[in-house]
């Protein structure tokens, strides 16, 4: 077994666990960035340097920054009380037990499989690009449409709408919101 893989995989597992059990949202996001970086190391050693770079640039660089901006805009901290009241060991025990059963099943299935050793061959970005723009051309176009829909949807949903209330409909004593 490879030492680099074991170190990176254990860092990824521990930081993913910390990110879902953390109460502070910013700390959870930073742990998730650490997990993504170690997964990109695993991509690199298994012969996918292009994907490792994409993971760092797009996931850890763009998506996580978007998350951090939203967390900072919302100034989270007061939403935690409800979850603290709700999150007792009785509620999280059942999903954890079910996930452990699923993990045991996975280990059993992997032990049934005969062991194959993968010697990683580096697949260059050129090969990926050729495959992307010949075999998967339709899928690339569909992905473009999906990204366009994502942009339009985010713009439409992110707009702050002003509430228009007619002045006769407002009860006396209550102020009109937004004025």
């Amino acid at each position: 077994m490879n030492t680099i893989f074991i170190i990176a995989a254990s860092i990824a597992l521990i930081s993913s666990l910390m990110s879902i059990t953390n109460r502070n949202a910013i700390h959870a996001l930073l742990y998730l960035i650490l997990s993504l970086l170690s997964i990109s190391i695993i991509f690199y050693i298994s012969g996918a340097p292009f994907i490792a770079a994409l993971e760092v640039i797009v996931y850890a660089g763009a998506i996580m920054v978007l998350f951090i901006f939203v967390v900072m805009i919302l100034n989270i901290g007061l939403a935690e009380e409800i979850e603290n009241r709700w999150l007792t060991p009785g509620t999280w025990a059942v999903p954890v037990i079910l996930a452990c059963a699923l993990l045991a099943l996975l280990v059993y299935a992997m032990r049934q499989m005969q062991s194959v050793n993968t010697t990683a061959v580096v697949i260059t970005p050129k090969q990926v690009g050729i495959s992307l723009f010949t075999t998967y051309l339709i899928a690339v176009e569909i992905a473009a449409v999906l990204l366009m829909a994502g942009i339009i949807g985010a713009y439409h949903l992110g707009k702050q709408r002003k509430k228009v209330v007619h002045r006769f409909l407002v009860k006396p004593g209550k102020e009109i919101p937004g004025k």
């Binding site: 077994m1 490879n2 680099i4 893989f5 995989a9 597992l13 993913s16 990110s19 949202a25 959870a28 998730l32 997990s35 695993i42 050693i45 298994s46 996918a48 292009f50 994907i51 994409l54 797009v58 763009a62 998506i63 998350f67 939203v70 967390v71 919302l74 989270i76 939403a79 409800i82 979850e83 709700w86 999150l87 509620t91 999903p95 954890v96 993990l103 996975l106 992997m110 499989m113 062991s115 050793n117 993968t118 010697t119 990683a120 061959v121 580096v122 697949i123 990926v128 050729i130 992307l132 075999t135 998967y136 899928a139 999906l146 990204l147 994502g150 985010a154 439409h156 949903l157 992110g158």
Partner: protein, 106 residues
Amino acid sequence: MVTISMEIQLLFAGMIFLIGLVGFLVRRNVIFMLLSIEIMLNSAGLAFVIAGSHWMQTDGQVMFIFILTVSAAEVSVGLALILQMYNHFRTLDADSISKLRDKKVI
């Protein structure tokens, strides 16, 4: 470059996926639920790349690029929805957006 047994790698991807699944089921904060979805999508992409490097084909990496696209679109729309939800309800608790039900939960 290096020799790693494939089932250990796939097992690792499955463990990351299960961590994301538990996080999605347990947490009630919407931001954490979205974050768990990110973990799950990423582990699915990891499994694709591992299988692609095992058979020395480019298809795994191409699939990872598509997963990346889907995840980016999903995160942008989801975060816009979270902003709207916070503007309406002043909370990030997923149980508070159950206005279509009769009884008040919590």
